[in-house]
Symmetry: D2
Subunit: 339 residues, 4 copies
Amino acid sequence: MAEPVGVAVVGASGYAARELIQILLRHPGARIAMATSRQDERLDALHPSLTGRIDLACEPFDADRLAERCRFAFLGLPHTASMAIVPSLRERGVKVIDLSADYRLTDAQVYEDWYGHAHTDPAALADAVYGLPELFRDRIPAAGLIANPGCYTSTSILSLAPLVAQDLIDRKSIIIDAKSGVSGAGRSPKLTTHFPECNESLTAYNVGRHRHTPEIDQVLTAVAGGGEPVEVIFTPHLIPMDRGILATIYATPKKPVAEHDLIDLFRSFYADSPFVRVVTRLPATKDSAFTNFFDVTVRVVRGRIVVLACLDNLVKGASGVAVQNLNLMLGLPETTALL
Amino acid sequence: MAEPVGVAVVGASGYAARELIQILLRHPGARIAMATSRQDERLDALHPSLTGRIDLACEPFDADRLAERCRFAFLGLPHTASMAIVPSLRERGVKVIDLSADYRLTDAQVYEDWYGHAHTDPAALADAVYGLPELFRDRIPAAGLIANPGCYTSTSILSLAPLVAQDLIDRKSIIIDAKSGVSGAGRSPKLTTHFPECNESLTAYNVGRHRHTPEIDQVLTAVAGGGEPVEVIFTPHLIPMDRGILATIYATPKKPVAEHDLIDLFRSFYADSPFVRVVTRLPATKDSAFTNFFDVTVRVVRGRIVVLACLDNLVKGASGVAVQNLNLMLGLPETTALL
Amino acid sequence: MAEPVGVAVVGASGYAARELIQILLRHPGARIAMATSRQDERLDALHPSLTGRIDLACEPFDADRLAERCRFAFLGLPHTASMAIVPSLRERGVKVIDLSADYRLTDAQVYEDWYGHAHTDPAALADAVYGLPELFRDRIPAAGLIANPGCYTSTSILSLAPLVAQDLIDRKSIIIDAKSGVSGAGRSPKLTTHFPECNESLTAYNVGRHRHTPEIDQVLTAVAGGGEPVEVIFTPHLIPMDRGILATIYATPKKPVAEHDLIDLFRSFYADSPFVRVVTRLPATKDSAFTNFFDVTVRVVRGRIVVLACLDNLVKGASGVAVQNLNLMLGLPETTALL
Amino acid sequence: MAEPVGVAVVGASGYAARELIQILLRHPGARIAMATSRQDERLDALHPSLTGRIDLACEPFDADRLAERCRFAFLGLPHTASMAIVPSLRERGVKVIDLSADYRLTDAQVYEDWYGHAHTDPAALADAVYGLPELFRDRIPAAGLIANPGCYTSTSILSLAPLVAQDLIDRKSIIIDAKSGVSGAGRSPKLTTHFPECNESLTAYNVGRHRHTPEIDQVLTAVAGGGEPVEVIFTPHLIPMDRGILATIYATPKKPVAEHDLIDLFRSFYADSPFVRVVTRLPATKDSAFTNFFDVTVRVVRGRIVVLACLDNLVKGASGVAVQNLNLMLGLPETTALL
C-alpha cells in the first residue's frame, strides 16, 4: 500500500470525532495529521480513552496549514459551522467529508426552513454527493465534497430504499418510529441528557419536526426516481442506552406482498453491500453496536409491511460510513479498517 | 373506616405481586391475610425489600383456608393457572381480581387460538368484568370476577378509546408501536432478559403475534359500540430499563382534525378519571413511574393522529389498577392507597 | 390530628426537593404552603411527575411571607446559600431543617477549610442539632435548626456508630469505600453526569478530598465520646444508576470479634430505630430504594470487620430523614408518611 | 507474515469466547479452524453479532480432529471441564491457553479447598505458566499450557505488583474493593443477573470467599519473592453495567511514601508493557472498555496508599490477554490484533 494519506479531524471533541479517530488509527491508508478544536488540548485530554494511542494536540482551524498536511478533511462540526469553512478547504483542493447536515439537503430553501439559517454556500449543494455508499457508490470516488448522512436518516433510507425503488409501497403511508441511544444527542451536557433524567426513562421528542425528516423525504424520492414525493411521518425516541438506533417502519403495500419475497428483494438489492446484513431474526441494536453493519429484516403484519432495522449511530450512522466514503475515494476496499 | 377486609395474594413471588403487597400495606381498608407461593418462604425472603414491613410466610394454595380468612383474592399467576382455581374461589364466595389473561377475552376460541390452550372455565367468561375503571367503572362494584387488564393493553386502549368512541378514526389504520421496560417480562430468568443481553440493547419481539393484540381489538371494538372490528398492528419492544411502557400510536382520521380539539376531547372523556393526566408535553415514562397515573398527549403530524402515552407497567398496568378495582368494589374512593 | 402545619420548600427545583414534596403530599400533619425557586414556575413545570398532585407556583424567597404561612422551612439550597437566609428565618420564629452542609460542621474553621468560604453565621453552629435521629433523637424535638446530614455521611456514620460507641475498633483504621447513584450529584447538567459519559462506566472521584470526610470524622468522634479523633479514609465512586448508596467499610478490631456478636450489637444498638434493618444477607441498594430504610450487615474477613450498608440517597439520605426530623419536632410517630 | 496458524475455540458459547473470536478475526497470524460447543449451532446463531463475519458451525469436542487442524486451543470452559480435556490436547502436541481457573493455582489442595473438587491433573500444575505477560513475559513463549488469569485477579495483581516487588507495603494490610460489570458473571441466566434484579442496584457478593482470593495471594507472594505470604481482603461487587472492572485498593506502606514517587515506580515497572497505562487522572472503566488496556493510578490518602485501576473484564481480563499470550508464543509483536 502507498504512503498513508494525511487527513484532518476538524472539530475533534465530540463523540463522532472520537469514533472516527479510533477507526482511523487502524487504517493502513490514512494518517491523522491534524486535529482541530476550540479547546486547545491534546486529543487524549479531550478523550481519555485515546491515551497511549495518538500523540497529537488540537490546534485552531487554519485552512492553509490543513491543506499543507492533509488531502482529506472530516468535519465534525455543528451545522452552519461546516458551511463556514468548506469553501476555504475546497479552494485549496482539500476533499471534504462533512458529518454535519449542511450539504445534505439539495434545496437551500428547505435547509433554511428546517434549520432556521440561510445557507451561505448554496452553490456547492449541487456538487455535494450524498455519502450513502449503498445507494450512491458510483458517485463517491470522484466527489470533492461528501455530505455524510445523518444516523436516523441512514437507518430509515436503507430500510425503505428497496421498497420505493421497486415502487411497492404507498409513498404517503410511511411511518418511521425510530429509537436512538443517547450519544446521538451529542456531547454537550443538557438537562434532557443528564443521567438521572433520561436513565430509566423513555420519551419521544421533536415529534413531527425532527430535522432528519426532509432529508429522508428527499433521498427516498430520488431513489424512487422522482414522481410523487415521499412524505414520511418520523417520530424519534430517546432510549436509555449509549449507542444504537432501531427503526420500526410501517408502510402500506400497493398490492399484497409475501414476506419471503421481500426478504429476497432486500438480499438482492444489497448483494454488493458488505455492511448490510439482511436477517430473518428481529435485529437487536447490540448485535451491530461498535460495528459498521446495518441489520435489517422485513415482516408482513395484517397486510402491512413492517421493516425493522438497526445500526450503531456513531459508526455506520456517522464515522464508519465516513471512512467507508474515504475508502471509496481512495480506491481502497470498502471495508478497510471497518471490520 | 370499617375493619379492613382480608385479602389474599395468590402467587406472591413475582414483581406484580410485590408491587401489590407494597400498595396494600398502605391501604386502610385491606389487610393481607394470606400469601401463597410454590416457594414455601416468608414474603421478605422472596422479596427482601419487604423486610420489616410484613410478617407473613407463604403457604400452598388452599381454597378453604383462603375463603375463611379473605373476602378478596388477587391472582398473580401465569395464564392457565388462574382458571384452574378461580371456580373454587367463586364457589366459596371469594371475589377474584385476576391479573392473568385467563378471563380477559370474551371468546374461548380466541383464547385458545392465541394462548394455545383450551379454556377450562368458559362459562365464567360472561361474568368477568374487564377491570379498566376508566371505561367500565359502573360495572366493577358488583363484579365477582375482575379480569385485570394487561399492561400494554391498558396503555393502548386508554390511548385510543376517546377516538374510537367518537368514531374519529379508520379502525384498520391503527399502529401501536409499544415499548416496555424489562419487568414486564416477569421474574423468571431467561437469556433474553439476562442483563448483559438486554442492557444497552433494543429490539422488537413477538412482531405480529403478541397476545395482547386480540385483547386490544376486542375492547376497542366494544368501546366503538360494535360495527366494523378494530384491528390493530401491535409491535412491542424491549427497552433497557426496569419499568414503564410508552406507546406511540398512529391512526388515520376519517376527516381532518385539529390537535387542540383532540386534547379537549381527551380531557372531557377522562374528566372523571383521577388517574388520567392529559398533558400537552410529550410524556416520559419516568414521570409516571412508581405511580398509578396514565399520561397521554395527542399530536397531528402530516394529517395523521399520533397519540403518545405512558404508564408504569407494574402499577397502573397491573397492581395499581387492581387496587383501583378493589376500591370500587369496596365502595371506597378510587384513589385510596394509590396517591 | 390537629390542623396540618404549614411548611415551606425553599429551593424547590432539585431532586431532594422533589422527593420531599412527594413525601409531604402523603403527610397528614403538614401542608406545603410555599415553594421557592429562582425559576418562577409551577412545581409541576419544574417536576412533571407532580402533575395533578399539587397546584402551587414557586415564588422568590421572602422571609416575611414565608413566616406568615409556615412554621417550618426545609432548605434545599446549595451550601453558602443556606446560611445566607437561616438567620432571617430563625429571627421570625421559623424552625429550619437545612439539607445543605452549612450547619453540619461544628467548627467554622473546618467549614472554611473544606468548603472554601468563611462561615457567615458561626454563632448558630452551636445551636444546630445534627439531624440523625438514630443517634440524636432526644435533641431533635426542641431544636430550632436541624443540620440534616449528608447521604454518604448517614450511611457511614450509621454503619460505624455501634462499633465506635463500644470502642471496638482502631479509630485510624477505618476505610469507607462508598458508591453512589448519580442523583447524588444533583440536577445541574455537567459533563461527568452526561448520560453517555457516566452510563456503562465506573470511577472514583474526589479521592481523599470529599467534603463529607470531616463530617464523618466529627460525628463519629462525638459518638465515641471524644478521645482520640476518628480519621476515616473515604473514597466515593459514581455508579451508573439513579439512586442508592452502598458503603463497604473496613475496620481493624482492637481484639478479635465474632460475626454473630457484631450482628447482635447492631440489633441492640438500633432496637428503637424503626428505619434501621440489621440483616444477615448482603444488602442491595434496590431493596432500600424509594424507602427510608437503612440496611446493614457485618462480616468478619481474615480478622477484619467489614460493614456493608445501603440507603436511598434521596430518601433516608436526604428528604426522608428530613421528614423523620419533622415528625420528631411535631411529636408525631417517627414513621409518619415514611412507610 | 507466514501462513496463519490454526486455532480452536473450545466452549464457544460464552461472552469471553465471543470476544476472543472477534479479536481473532482481526488477527493476521491466526485462523479459527474449529469451534466447539454442546450446542450444535453455527457461531452466528450462538452470537448474532458474528453474522457475516465467520462461516463456521460448532462441533462436539474431539481431540483428534482438533489436533489435526489446530496448533493452539483456547478453552472457554467452566472449571473442572478444562482439566478433563487438557491432557488429551497436550498429548497431541496442541498448545493450550486455558481461560478457566483449573491451572492457575499451583497447589492442588488449595484448588480443592476453594473449588470443591479434587484436581484431576495435578501433575500439569507445575508446567502451567501463569499468563500475565506483564509479570511473566519471559516464560510464556516456551509454554505448552497457559493458565490465563482471572479478570479480578489481573486487575488486583497488576495494581499491587510494583508495591510488593519493592516490598513497600505491609502484606497483611491489603484491601481490594473490586467492582465488576455483569458480563463477568457469565452468560447463563440466573436470578441475580436477571435485568430487573441487578439493574439500578448495587451489592457486594461472595464477601470473604471469592475464588480469586487465593490466586491473588499466590501470585503476589511469588512477585514478592516469597517470604511472608500476602493475604488480601477481597470484596467483589456487582455493578449495573456490561463490562469493566474497577479496583480500589488500600495498603499500608512500611514507611511514608510520596505520591509522585509511586507514580514513577509504576511507570518504570511497566515501561516495557504496552497495555499498561499509568495515568494521573482517576481511571474510569469506560476509557478502557473494549480495549486491552489496564489503566492505573496511585494516591496517598492520610498515609495510606490507594491504587485505583481498571480494565475490560472480557478483553484484558480474559480474551485480550489470551491473544497477548498467543502473540508471545508465536513470536509476534505483543500488540498484534489488540490495538
